[in-house]
Point group: C2
Chain length 452, copies 2
Amino acid sequence: MKKIVIIGGVAAGPKITAKLLRSDCDCQIDLYTDEKLISYSACGLPYFIEGLIEDPNRLIVRKPEQFEEKGANIHLGKRCIKILPDEHAVLIQDVDTKEIEKVNYDKLAICTGARPIVPSIENIELKNIFTLRTIDDGIKIREKLRHSKKAVIVGGGYIGIELLEAFYLNGLDVHMIEMNEHILPIFDPEISDIIKNEIIKMSNGKVRIITNDAVVSFLGEDKVEKVVTSKGEVIDTDFVVIAVGVTPNTEIAKDAGIELGVSNAIRVNNRMQTSATDIYAAGDCIENFHLVSRNYAWIPLGSSANKEGRCAAINIAGGYDALPGVLGSAVTRYNGFTMSLTGLTETEAKKFGFDVISSTMTKKDKAGYMPEAENITIKLVVDKRSRKILGAQGIGSGDADKRINTVASAIQAEQTVDDFLHLDMTYAPPYSTAVDPLLSAALVINNQIYKI
Amino acid sequence: MKKIVIIGGVAAGPKITAKLLRSDCDCQIDLYTDEKLISYSACGLPYFIEGLIEDPNRLIVRKPEQFEEKGANIHLGKRCIKILPDEHAVLIQDVDTKEIEKVNYDKLAICTGARPIVPSIENIELKNIFTLRTIDDGIKIREKLRHSKKAVIVGGGYIGIELLEAFYLNGLDVHMIEMNEHILPIFDPEISDIIKNEIIKMSNGKVRIITNDAVVSFLGEDKVEKVVTSKGEVIDTDFVVIAVGVTPNTEIAKDAGIELGVSNAIRVNNRMQTSATDIYAAGDCIENFHLVSRNYAWIPLGSSANKEGRCAAINIAGGYDALPGVLGSAVTRYNGFTMSLTGLTETEAKKFGFDVISSTMTKKDKAGYMPEAENITIKLVVDKRSRKILGAQGIGSGDADKRINTVASAIQAEQTVDDFLHLDMTYAPPYSTAVDPLLSAALVINNQIYKI
């Protein structure tokens, strides 16, 4: 019987376990996690904090018992402190007793995920300064939110935006502080600007967004009371959430001599194999291969973790599966306003040497005479020479994100903009315009390239 | 100067005119229509009837003046009664005065559209029996609806369903009578069954759907009062709408010796050229080439009319454009419930000789813990041998139609289900599940093919 050890229990680890249990692999599965629960949707935490979900247990996808009934062993509160690739073993430490045991494996899967970056800001140890990763973090922030009037969010990325929605809709005055010139710098600058303006417009003076400035210190006796920025802003607050980004948990992998890549994430091939024999990795701790840039990138996302977990499981079980790569497709929302993208932005595409042509189209998402029609803005990025679609950004109060998936499908298939503008999309007045905004954006580019 | 004559003014005709006016073609454009207005959204009529749109003029996309200002001549109330291909001329009759003039052309575009089929049912000439094509038809039905309590819709296709929504939401008791075994027979039978059950469930006893039965006569003195079916049902009603399908307006084309195809629609090549020199056609009167079946089909849709109009205009102007074909993508709704599809259904795919494998997946469209999550059912149809995706049907209260467009994009690019299940789709709890329902459906098929 093959002995399979899985390190990590949030998304990729449980996915591997579930897929192995469904396969006819003759194996013993042991999953170790330093947390007290497994298999939960970290992506749902902002909506628990917002109050859309009452019971945090609803975020749990599967309980340990559900795996154990089927024959897997789930070890809670057990941290992997060392990988010994030559011995095909790991050292596991009990989080409470600190006892250490050596566990042998035939195949190992590293699914250690990522953790929030905690920048070195003066007085960051003050009370009521939070980060968000676990359900416990979520419970603490929600509890604090209920008895607060003011909050500061440090960082204007996805999690920052989702917390902004949660705090604003709970009646708080919120400051968001982003070091970059734009919030959501993953979008092109002019799209980020539209997003920022829309957020402000929707927030009735309750939200202030400060860009191009950094927090230098927190003030307060025991608890945080003020946030001080490098430009000298002093902001009163009841609490702070730090959401400046994440970093992969790859120290034990690095320590074991396993090759790392971009942002210190673990490099894997398309079968999720690391540089070490019989060691696989999946989820937020691994590097991705970007299908458009043909370069490595670290884009940790829950949707990818599921695909990677499945792929790793099939290969661990002795089958064959390969993941071609990612497009970096992502979506978030603020108060009904959607922000989504796939592939490369114009900024990124230029960085990778493409000869970029783009079009940005703001149009109703449904027939203009339908009362439910809302604006969306689509930006399409195309390589002028090959005419291949490189990326798309879609934002607005209307139906933007699903259109971005339609582009994602075209990009994955390496479609040109000439192919794409012929796409036979569904049309009825409550759903789109006779010429869908996506196709309008493609037509503008086509007209520019061919000057007809 | 090239003399371009366009016959028909609803969708494709105005599109050709608009595109020609934007091109640098040195041409005189004359558009003839037997109607009193041009360029309107016939697809919006059910929503005008429903009352979502107050002013029927909102359905007008462009007014004649908007074209004339730019140099096109719009001739209202002028019917083309004969095409003389050898003379490069058409005979145009004034609808009111009946005067006939001969008009010469260098290039002709036939955009005569389609008209509702009026079956030969006893007493069909009674008052308050309507069909729906023009804005005038819409105004009449809306007016009647406002003073009625009961209605009968003959035909369970898209327009029937859209009228059902309009009538139900205006408080009427409605009977829908469909000759086929299923309403919306464009879907696979088991999907049509789900649709029928959902419609009934949502309609609080106000809607009855009769399938497998036909109307044999209407009863009443001057106005229709009862509808009699072949199985002997006698249904009291205040008015009737006949929506049993449409037929292309191609009599003048046929009379001129122009080649027709499926359902008597005009056959065109991928540049919208008919069998006659210098004669183009576009819109509901032309036959389509189906990209999956590789066969001709007649699928008249507003979205296609726009693409065909653009293509015809570019070629008429001396440029080059070619439309590869259609996927038959379509969508409609009933009371918030979406019904959409693209490509071939299982039934059709089998008819065309494919070795079909399919999966049907009912799943939440968003993370299950989000209060706004709704069910959708996705059916994916795949060719077992090539593993190419042949079609998809998506229905439900959730976000189904945009997912269908994502599949449409994959089908157009001839993606296999193996490629498709790796698609990097956007994910966040308010938008989808970590494994999107589309990918779940693809995974089920993959697991069946490879038995892992």
